[in-house]
Symmetry: D2
Subunit: 138 residues, 4 copies
């Protein structure tokens, strides 16, 4: 199933996240994408925290990113997160980050897997989540 759900969230680059090149360290964007998808899910009506409290986890299975321009200290970044597809246990997100001059900083994609906490085995995407996504179905 493919979806057209999109959400935007802002964050500001911390000093800790820069490196001596004066840019955001390439590995720190993973945190920005995490913020993006958690807020995208929250906005849809699904709390990732509650999901875990109900025994379901969402580890990342794959992650890829392309860097177009550096983000710098104190930049206010716009993270645009899209839920693009669900297939069995697998949930795919796409991301774009722009700075406040609307320059493209990075594009990325992650696949997450719904997993039962007790068995650590993949499970089908929860029906409640699919229900929330229904109206964004393509």
């Amino acid at each position: 199933m493919e979806f057209s759900y999109k959400n935007q969230t802002k964050l500001r680059v911390r000093y800790a996240e820069t490196d001596q090149m004066g840019y955001v360290y390439y590995g720190n964007y993973a945190q920005y994408f995490e913020v993006g998808r958690v807020e995208a899910m929250r906005n849809l009506g699904m709390s990732y925290r509650e999901l875990e409290e109900n025994g379901i986890m969402l580890p990342v299975a794959d992650f890829s990113t392309n860097y177009y321009a550096p983000a710098r200290y104190d930049d206010e970044l716009m993270v645009t997160t899209s839920i693009v597809s669900v297939k069995g246990a697998r949930l795919k997100f796409d991301y774009e980050i722009h700075n406040d001059k609307n320059e493209l900083i990075v594009k990325a994609s992650t696949t997450l897997v719904f997993v039962a906490k007790n068995s650590m085995r993949p499970i089908k995407t929860p029906a409640t989540f699919l229900e929330l996504l229904k109206k964004y179905s393509l």
Copy 2:
């Protein structure tokens, strides 16, 4: 009870750990002290990992540090960790970090508390740990 146990461990500054000032970010030293105390305990014969697997945790209750000189990317640092005292549930470590020119970078001190994982309440310092420390008693 006071002790004279000391251990040294080396680590190399990662690019991720620097900030745009070109120095190690002030908050990242906490990780270096963690490495120092884990290796100090391991060298004494106590694995922090096994401690947790046996239902005991060691959260940090207080932490203070003084910065004397900056550490830089790729510096090889020597972390000197001392176990200085045990008092009820509380375990105190001191730390010094020097670079490879033997310049003092930071001094720090942490108090950790032995806590039972199921109740999250303080417990007495495990007898096995005190046994390992005995010969360093002051």
Copy 3:
């Protein structure tokens, strides 16, 4: 000189900031204090970013913190930052963090030093900064 300036800023705990104890890692609070002081300065009318662009840096000279209760994933935290004193090149901040049930999580204190970027030597607190603080003088 002592001051009574206080500022509050909110942030949400990221998954990346937790550790396997299920709490915010003790070293990650340093980032929260950084966010607190940068926003406190911005609210006062001083951009830390511009300060650096004008050749002045503010490295941390000492840092101490007491942990009262754990912060957890997805908690919305209130960081209260106070500028407490200026003495020569030295600027002292105090911090308190509470969760959304108003429980005290940590208290902390840092001393920062105004430093010229080219010489890396301490300089007097900039007059423009003292001017902004004047009305909060005790």
Copy 4:
């Protein structure tokens, strides 16, 4: 040009690097790959630190990773880094990480770009670096 150069380096998972799932946070592997490529270059005879001191930087242009099994706290990991190709300004590394039971944890790939520090523009791969790689040419 394609190469067969491979290097191995060990590191131990820090508590700070785990998250509340009890695994290494997916974004923290970027640091492990950084350690891998810095040590791979050092072993070849090229210090990344000196490269920067000579006005050349190596920002990451793209990064992709697949997660096969979780790494856990205190695991000793083996990072295997391969220099696979050089093309104009672009340098491609592949990585594999195994734990001490020889289980595959992650595979990853990054492309880095040689850039002049003053202009921030791509430059040809330095001849000294190609010279060091020559005997690994495929």
